[in-house]
């Protein structure tokens, strides 16, 4: 996870340095816009973090592996997609979690459904998504992501 932050921060600082070198005026505008969007977005991000924190407190990852490990078939895929949609687990953690799920007896199909809905559907970040794109877009994107999770899972289940 540290690589993620390092790469992003180094790239942005580099770009900011180039920007400063090219035009101080424009760079001060860059910082103004950055600050403004920070003020706008920060409350939604704080809310997202609080929801994630409370959720993690009640549904630890270990419990999910236990629970989904025993499920199978299409109903298992549906359930995995549903659980994945509600929870927030960073992708870095989700792969080892899914690997342990499969080890416990879940099918690859369930693993694929879980990963896709976990990453694509953000129940916890709904307030932020609605703020940026409106309700219609948010509902459409999340529902079609749910369908995509099931389709990807079935396709992988058939082929693997």
């Amino acid at each position: 996870m540290a690589i993620d932050f390092l790469v992003l921060n180094v790239l942005v600082l580099l770009a900011l340095a180039i920007s400063f070198f090219k035009s101080r005026e424009k760079t001060s505008k860059v910082i103004k816009i950055a600050f403004k969007s920070l003020i706008n977005t920060a409350p939604y991000i704080i809310i997202t973090i609080i929801i994630i924190g409370i959720m993690q407190g009640f549904i630890p990852n270990r419990l999910i592996a236990e629970y989904l490990g025993e499920k199978s078939g299409i109903s298992g895929v549906l359930l995995a997609s549903l659980i994945g949609a509600i929870l927030y687990i960073p992708a870095f953690v989700s792969f080892p979690l899914v690997a342990s799920l499969i080890e416990k007896g879940a099918s690859v199909m369930i693993g694929a459904a879980f990963i896709t809905s976990l990453t694509m559907i953000g129940f916890t970040s709904l307030p932020l998504e609605i703020k940026e794109f409106g309700i219609k877009f948010t509902v459409l994107r999340n529902i079609s992501s749910f369908a995509a999770a099931i389709l990807i899972a079935v396709a992988i289940g058939v082929l693997l």
Binding site: T27, Y44, T116, E132, G134
Partner: protein, 183 residues
């Protein structure tokens, strides 16, 4: 519709409301922690963990939004990510999306600034999808835990379905050129 949202977004009272929302959630947080003292440790630990994660990433994300809106012109965005950009635009969206930019919730403000600059709805959805499930750094973890075959299959199907999703959502939500907000 979009324009309305932007104007409202800059509205002071809306910002005040969102900060009132934060207070509400902080109250909820304190309430939950007091009601379930046995969960307190894990809830606080996890929240602090994600809060630190956010602190590490948010300045960079906000600065990149600033850099993008100052240095990249509307014409450029429209040319590479607009309605006429076709498969090339989708490919660019996937590549930008797969770069390490942190969790999905950080991608929403970025996507929103792309949309304001004239990127098509299709490419926005593709970008968000790639941000979510086609991250390059996470790919290394996926390869290690799930194997190459799984990864190739999942990435290929994901790319196809993300583009399909973008196509459908673009059909349903029609952002007319003239209603795009000016920056």
């Amino acid at each position: 519709m979009k324009e309305n949202k932007i104007i409202k977004g800059n509205n002071k009272s809306k910002i005040m409301k969102s900060y009132a929302g934060v207070l509400l959630f902080i109250t909820l947080f304190i309430g939950v922690v007091t009601l379930f003292p046995e969960r307190k440790e894990i809830i606080v630990n996890e929240s602090v963990k994600y809060f630190i994660e956010m602190l590490l990433i948010i300045p960079a994300v906000m600065l990149s939004i600033g850099l993008f809106s100052v240095w990249v012109s509307k014409e450029q965005t429209s040319k590479y990510l607009g309605k006429e950009s076709g498969l090339k635009g989708a490919a660019i969206s996937i590549i930008i999306g797969s770069l390490p930019t942190g969790p999905l919730y950080m991608a929403f403000p970025i996507a929103s600034s792309l949309l304001k600059k004239g990127a098509s709805m299709l490419n926005i959805v593709v970008f968000l999808g790639a941000c979510a499930c086609l991250k390059i750094p996470q790919g290394i973890v996926e390869l290690k835990f799930m194997g190459l075959e799984f990864m190739i299959l999942r990435w290929s199907f994901s790319i196809i379905l993300i583009i399909l999703m973008g196509y459908i959502i673009e059909r349903v939500i029609d952002v007319k050129k003239e209603t795009l907000p000016q920056i």
